[in-house]
Symmetry: C2
Subunit: 157 residues, 2 copies
DNA sequence: TGACAGTCATCAATGCATTGATGATGATGG
DNA sequence: CCATCATCATCAATGCATTGATGACTGTCA
């Protein structure tokens, strides 16, 4: 076997892998958002949780986890940190004593608004790169990709 | 102030935030890849590292980190795990005694090929969702987004 | 009433990723 | 020759996220 072929190509050349471009773009997005929300003392997942919480006060941790697309365990840790820092409050539901209602505190709302101002700049910068029509095309591509990948996951599972 | 406006909208409505769609698609991609490489006993970042390593034997940990778009520290932990499991080997460079040359072991190569077979299926499933022309458009959108976001990060930093 | 399914919270183990700081090494230039 | 700079590895702290397992509670259905 020729040495030149020993380090042979894997199943598909990297340049053809759309997933690589998708992931690279997302890494850049997360890096920018991290920079944006950092001055507010928040991480990106914390910002996401507060953002949902602002529109859904009293939501359960599990429901919040679904909204943020993470597992309940991950959200539990995140909420524990936010509670310790006084950005959210959790209290047992009046009837369903098993669920902990979660709400923003004033400090939490303040941090969210500070973070959202800069996070919005990132989204605006992203939007400004595209015309309205392009944004629609881009969004459609992303949603089709998401759907295709969900089917791929179903097949593999 | 009317109660209906108390939970007021943040800076930009969620439906307008392209970043949300981008991130959701990436989450789905990562979930599918996770399922794909799991039977090989690998995580997605481990698969990525082995993939680069297969084409760049003897690369340094820091260079590998750059290729995989993570910090050297993150790559260090990852390589520590892979070394302990015998999937890669690390040895001091002959001249630059400070750098550790990293190489796949046979077991590492076997795991990579097993993982790559299924990971390629995911990429194929993604590619099959789009025509050739659409793939090029999609890729162009992603690269423009990446560029715009890098500039956004520069502005914020 | 009593079994069952669904939802919620939580503990534990593992792994990824970041910032910040430290120290070793090799190349560059005064 | 020595100072400086860049690169590399590594330690430590913090936080995100996953799977797996456990226990508590609600409501339903037999």
């Amino acid at each position: 076997m020729p040495l030149a072929l020993y380090h042979r190509r894997m199943g598909m050349p990297p340049a053809d892998r759309l997933g690589i471009d998708l992931h690279r773009a997302d890494l850049e997005l997360m890096a920018a958002k991290r920079l944006a929300v950092d001055p507010a003392g928040l991480t990106v997942p914390q910002y996401a949780a507060l953002y949902v919480l602002a529109d859904s006060p009293g939501i359960s941790g599990a429901a919040l986890a679904r909204s943020c697309q993470v597992t309940p365990q991950a959200m539990g840790v995140l909420l524990k940190h936010l509670t310790e820092r006084g950005l959210v409050e959790r209290a047992p539901h009046r009837w369903h004593r098993n669920v902990l209602e979660t709400r923003l505190t004033d400090r939490g709302r303040a941090a969210l608004e500070l973070a959202d101002e800069r996070a919005t700049e990132v989204e605006q910068c992203l939007a400004d790169e595209f015309t309205e029509a392009e944004q629609e095309q881009f969004r459609a591509f992303l949603n089709r990709a998401e759907r295709a990948l969900r089917h791929a996951a179903d097949d593999l599972g």
